[in-house]
């Protein structure tokens, strides 16, 4: 129980850090009155503006107001359009999810079997090919892959529309580009998890009792190797969201990512901070859930942590 509380406390601290960072960045991003109203505005107009947005209060009061606003789902207004930053972001989230969710499914569906295959044929040709492919997949920037795909399939072959949403085939290039990274990551993690599990004594026992390699792999090794994949998926989700920013930009999709880049270019920090907080909190919660679910999936882990926590307490008290 202690361990769960510790994780929960850590998640809360991380969220608080994120909010403090967002707020101070907001405060440091310059005087919004100057930026928005331009240099030629009269002092009275600037003062009125500052009064209206609460910019004359001390910083800590502004922070409390800011927190209160966040609790009421008020992420501030976009400097560019005057709309609610949250509404702008929520408007774009479905587009990003429609790219990211198929990508995660595709990455798991291709990456995990590739990793298993590679672990089963460790050191042989298939393994080396899979490792090389995943290294290449991980070291090529996704914007470059996107541009290359666009060059090949839109410019040279003319098969696919270069950008924007036309029909279902518009998904092919963005999802494929995004998945390259995901497949590589999943393949590598599955492989190393499988290799680790295969070196445990229980596999020796299974072999000694005459089970076939196929059964050992499927029934004994795989379930044990798959537990870390939950964490990977939780961590990867955040990466996919940032890669999606790139891919949306390349293929001209109107998702959260392209909104983020537009807002960064326009120095529209209210929107940037809304995206940062939403992504950040999602990531923190995903990590927390992944950590907590470990105990349910594999009771030995929870038990182990209880014991180490208890040992720590005895050491501290003595």
């Amino acid at each position: 129980m202690n361990w769960y509380l510790f994780r929960l406390g850590r998640a809360c601290i991380t969220i608080l850090l994120l909010l403090i960072l967002a707020f101070f960045a907001l405060a440091a991003s310059g005087d919004p009155a100057q930026i928005l109203l331009g240099p030629d505005t009269s002092q009275a107009a600037i003062d009125a503006f500052r009064e209206k947005w609460g910019l004359t209060l001390p910083l800590w009061q502004q922070f409390l107001i800011y927190l209160n606003g966040l609790l009421h789902m008020n992420f501030g207004l976009s400097y560019r359009t005057g709309e609610s930053a949250l509404a702008l972001v929520l408007d774009r989230i479905p587009v990003t999810l429609s790219l990211v969710l198929p990508t995660i499914l595709l990455s798991i569906a291709l990456g995990v079997p590739l990793g298993i295959l590679s672990a089963m044929h460790r050191g042989r040709f298939i393994d080396r090919l899979a490792i090389t492919l995943s290294v290449v997949g991980l070291s090529v920037p996704s914007f470059l892959l996107g541009v290359l795909a666009m060059y090949l399939f839109s410019v040279k072959l003319g098969w696919l529309a270069p950008s924007g949403y036309v029909d279902w085939s518009s998904y092919i290039m963005p999802v494929a580009t995004l998945s390259t990274v995901g497949i590589g990551t999943y393949a590598r993690f599955t492989r190393s998890a499988m290799v680790e599990v295969m070196s445990r004594p229980m596999i020796e026992t299974a072999r000694a009792s005459g089970l076939s390699e196929g059964i050992i792999h499927r029934v004994h090794a795989l379930p044990n190797a798959l537990t870390p994949l939950i964490t990977i998926t939780a961590l990867e989700f955040g990466h996919f969201v940032t890669y999606a920013a790139v891919v949306e930009n390349v293929f001209g999709w109107q998702g959260t990512g392209s909104l983020l880049i537009e807002s960064v270019s326009a120095r529209d920090f209210a929107v940037v901070q809304a995206i940062m907080i939403i992504t950040g909190v999602t990531m923190i919660l995903a990590n927390l859930l992944a950590d907590l679910s470990y105990g349910f999936i594999d009771p030995r882990i929870a038990d182990l942590r209880h014991r180490s926590a208890r040992r720590l307490r005895t050491v501290c008290e003595s």
Binding site: R10, I13, T14, L17, L18, L21, A22, A25, L26, A28, S29, G30, I131, T132, V135, V136, L138, S139, V140, P141, S142, F143, L144, V147, L148, M150, Y151, S154, V155, P162, G238, H239, V241, T242, A245, V246, N249, V250, L260, I261, S263, V264, S265, R267, D268, F269, V272, Q273, I275, M276, T279, G280, M283, I284, N287
Partner: protein, 276 residues
């Protein structure tokens, strides 16, 4: 002897690619035929020699008639310099913080631990984008600082773990008893032992730094014109894929061979370290 056993042609090839690029970076000012700001609107979109162009512009020209060879040389220089300084800087900052946190412990350790946790949880690209929004201008120096920020947390985590385990080792305790200063113990005994792991992490971090810089520049929020980086060139060339594909494809090829070479070398180095 380990070196001789594991040197495959692929590894040698990667070494050659990286050495060649290093020479290009060093010699860029002397090699580039024309000035970056030299615009020649009459010679727009000249193809490179291997696509039917002339030797006046060996790698062709872009939309403004600028010489692609000069642009690419400068771009390699900018991208690789940022990646090298960013990686080394991140290693120094992260390792120092990790070692100090582990040695002093207490509140400092908790603070560093929380910060590392924080950066590992929130996608770094989003943090960097938030920083860029706030900073008045992202020039070269600011960008190097951002790239140092990009990878420090992994070094800190590794260095902290190594220092913690070293702290309880007899050889460190013996030195403490003999009265060696903490600084001496850390720099003479702990750090050399951690070097292999940290170097491998640098080889993982380096391509990621290139990836981060080129991605930001490609999106138009990194290196700003009139300066160029490999990512920025691809960003410019993307809009001309139909009539002048070489503007995007040549820098793309360079990024490909650079990151793949370093990743392959990094994998090889990690196998060496793990085999020890």
């Amino acid at each position: 002897m380990i070196l001789r056993q594991n040197l495959s042609p692929a590894i040698v090839g990667c070494f050659c690619v990286l050495s060649f690029l290093t020479v290009l970076v060093m010699a860029a000012p002397w090699l580039s035929p024309s000035d970056l700001s030299e615009v020649n609107l009459l010679d727009r979109f000249r193809p490179p020699v291997f696509m039917g162009g002339t030797w006046q512009y060996p790698l062709g020209t872009d939309a403004l008639g600028r010489d692609m060879l000069s642009l690419i040389l400068r771009a390699i220089q900018v991208s690789l310099t940022i990646a090298v300084i960013g990686t080394i800087g991140g290693a120094i900052v992260g390792t120092t913080l990790g070692l100090v946190a582990a040695w002093i412990g207490g509140i400092l350790d908790a603070i560093v631990g929380t910060l590392v946790d924080f950066q590992a949880t929130i996608p770094t690209l989003i943090l960097i984008l938030a920083l860029i929004t706030v900073l008045p201008s992202a020039d070269f120096t600011v960008f190097v600082a951002i790239m140092i920020f990009h990878g420090w947390d992994r070094y800190a985590r590794l260095a902290r773990a190594i220092a913690l385990s070293a702290k309880s080792q007899p050889y460190v305790q013996a030195q403490q008893i003999m009265g060696a200063s903490t600084f001496r113990i850390i720099t003479r005994s702990v750090l050399p032992n951690a070097m292999a792991v940290l170097l491998v992490n640098m080889s993982i971090n380096f391509p990621q730094t290139i990836l981060a810089e080129t991605t930001l520049s490609f999106l138009g929020v990194g290196i700003q014109p009139p300066d160029v980086s490999l990512g920025l060139l691809i960003g410019i060339g993307r809009d001309q894929l139909f009539n002048a594909p070489w503007v995007a494809l040549m820098p793309g090829f360079l990024i490909l061979i650079t990151t793949i070479s370093i990743s392959v070398l990094g994998d090889w180095a990690r196998d060496l370290v793990e085999a020890d």
